[in-house]
Symmetry: C2
Subunit: 368 residues, 2 copies
């Protein structure tokens, strides 16, 4: 009899757990949320105020930019929606173009979302929005406590976004959060800056630098097209930035480096007499330890940029240089495909670049 | 006149470079290589010798395995082709199923290839095979010197492969390389063992463990389905392994852990009286710091497996336990989606698991 009572109790408990599970599943239905358009919240990560809410640069303002650069600047790399909410769940609806992920990226990084929430004074990862189609509706995180939470929802790295709405509990509130990052540091570069091959948007290295330093790094990575063209240099110089970090050597041939570096540096300096300018050598492509053509090209690029910067340092003040040799560590496991850092490679890049920017550069003093 | 000579010389040099570039591009055409079928080389990473060359387990031999486990064991996670060649380039043709990458994985990891070459006594990354379709032909690395090279070509983590051929220079030679790894350690677990979300096949953590220790870790990760079923336990116990590492808690409910752990451990021990058995707690799911349901479930799983192992250690010798708390480090950046480690998270897991296996366990002595 006692055994039977136990079984009945167990049965009731099981039913109770099933009901609870059912409610948990119900809570995952995105449409049960109340949505707010991102346009009513704060967009962070922009170089300029512009009319194209989801584009990094309003390229209509810079008609001379090369066509591929214009196209890449419509990708939302480095943009994030900042808001505050007491909701116990956060969902999202977002729309991207018909582009499909390249083989070296996850769909989450390429055309998905990830969310950070401030916890104990630090930004902490809280969930992802997995894209299922060009238009997706997904729960990013749920079952949270109902306290006020400061949130950053990062947008896709390699796609153009046309709409984002953020979903919260029917009874919850959501308001814009002021940009949590200070100053403005323009970070111009290649696919590596744009975010290949971080596994999600918030792990692109400019985003990690912002969260870890509190400084506002602007992602101006243009995959395959960071070639220091005159029109790009002119646009960069227009940014009201406190410092410029240039990681554009991977895409520039030795000849382009020879012909274009001085114009880029001098143009920035002409518009920003004191702003620190930091040039980074290209990282060593990992397949280049075997592919001699790739290895030699990388050496030639780094040799040429060294010559250029050493020469320019004689005339340009506050011009700094980071060597590329150790950017990925020493075990050769830091890339997805030889060229693009994976999250391990980016972590190692940060271990070189972050202390350089925050320690060797008197950044707090020099960046006004 | 001197200026004109310079220009002419520059012109000739440019023409010369263009011709060289053209030849470099030509060398990238995969069809200019001579191909050898993988069946004529060495397949490593198998638990048993079996008739299904590209499957991890010949599931016809284990009819009682759950259907999803059978299906997952057809994926080539952890398998690699070992060969030696003097070719200056390595290409590959391979065929996978119609499956498409999940949102948390790159196509290279899911259905592509990566190559390691022995250099200065260590396995070093050399290149990737990017899938372009269900059948792909691609150059993995080129422009190498013509010395003899020992190679490991890792196969897709999350797809079934039906054919692999390796391409080399028309004049080159290619022969089978004996399995370079010693002993046999069965590593049974979830999607995390199978390789989600490593950015390429060779970065799945069993593969990294093999290269870094020289021991032969067998990838028995079955995504979402490492639930310690009786038939799976019976199959695992049949493996002629020198040690067993069990990372199956992420997929097992507290009830399954309570009901199934003892059978799994006792069955392995019955067939392998002295082989070390190592159980690993589940890593802490990163979104579980906010999602209280997920956080509580992880705590319940780890609490239950702790009880089970502490109890079993009273009767089972050489049974070890690794705690899950610190597996991903402390900055919460080690996953792609909260659940699945990215390459940074895997690197941190290795920093816990590798010294445990090679130092705390007297592995060289105990593994015969």
């Amino acid at each position: 009899m006692k055994g039977l009572q136990k079984i009945t109790l167990l049965g009731q408990l099981t039913t109770c757990l099933l009901v609870l599970s059912f409610h948990a599943v119900m809570a995952q239905t995105p449409s049960s949320y109340k949505y707010k358009r991102a346009e009513e919240l704060t967009m962070i990560g922009k170089a300029f105020a512009n009319k194209q809410f989801y584009h990094r640069i309003d390229t209509a303002d810079y008609p001379d930019l090369p066509t591929p650069v214009k196209s890449l600047l419509t990708h939302s790399a480095g943009l994030a929606i900042a808001f505050k909410t007491n909701s116990t769940a956060i969902a999202a609806k977002w729309q991207t173009s018909a582009r499909k992920p390249s083989a070296n990226m996850t769909a989450i990084a390429f055309e998905g979302l990830d969310l950070y929430i401030k916890k104990d004074g630090k930004w902490q990862f809280a969930g992802v929005g997995k894209p299922t189609n060009d238009t997706t509706e997904a729960v990013v995180v749920q079952h949270m406590d109902s306290g006020e939470k400061e949130c950053l929802l990062y947008l896709p790295l390699y796609d153009e976004v046309t709409n984002v709405s953020i979903g919260i509990d029917e009874t919850g509130s959501i308001v814009a959060l002021p940009d949590p990052f200070k100053k403005k540091i323009a970070l111009y570069g290649s696919s590596i800056v744009q975010g290949a091959s971080a596994s999600r948007p918030g792990l692109a290295y400019p985003a990690r630098l912002s969260r870890e330093t509190g400084l506002n790094f602007i992602n101006l990575g243009v995959s395959g097209n960071a070639k220091m063209e005159k029109a790009t240099a002119d646009m960069l110089a227009m940014i009201d930035a406190d410092a410029f970090v240039l990681d554009c050597i991977p895409n520039s041939s030795p000849q382009e480096i020879e012909e274009r570096t001085a114009y880029l540096i001098r143009t920035i300096r002409a518009h920003h007499p004191e702003a620190p300018i930091v040039m980074i050598q290209t990282l060593i492509r990992e397949h280049g330890y075997f592919d001699q053509v790739v290895g030699n090209k990388t050496r030639d690029q780094n040799s040429m940029i060294t010559q250029q910067i050493e020469s320019l340092q004689k005339e340009i003040n506050n011009l700094y240089f980071i060597k590329g040799d150790d950017l990925l560590g020493t075990d050769h496991e830091g890339t997805t495909d030889g060229t693009h850092p994976n999250d391990l490679g980016f972590d190692r890049m940060l271990q070189v670049i972050k202390p350089f920017l925050t320690t060797h550069l008197p950044i707090a003093g020099q960046i006004r």
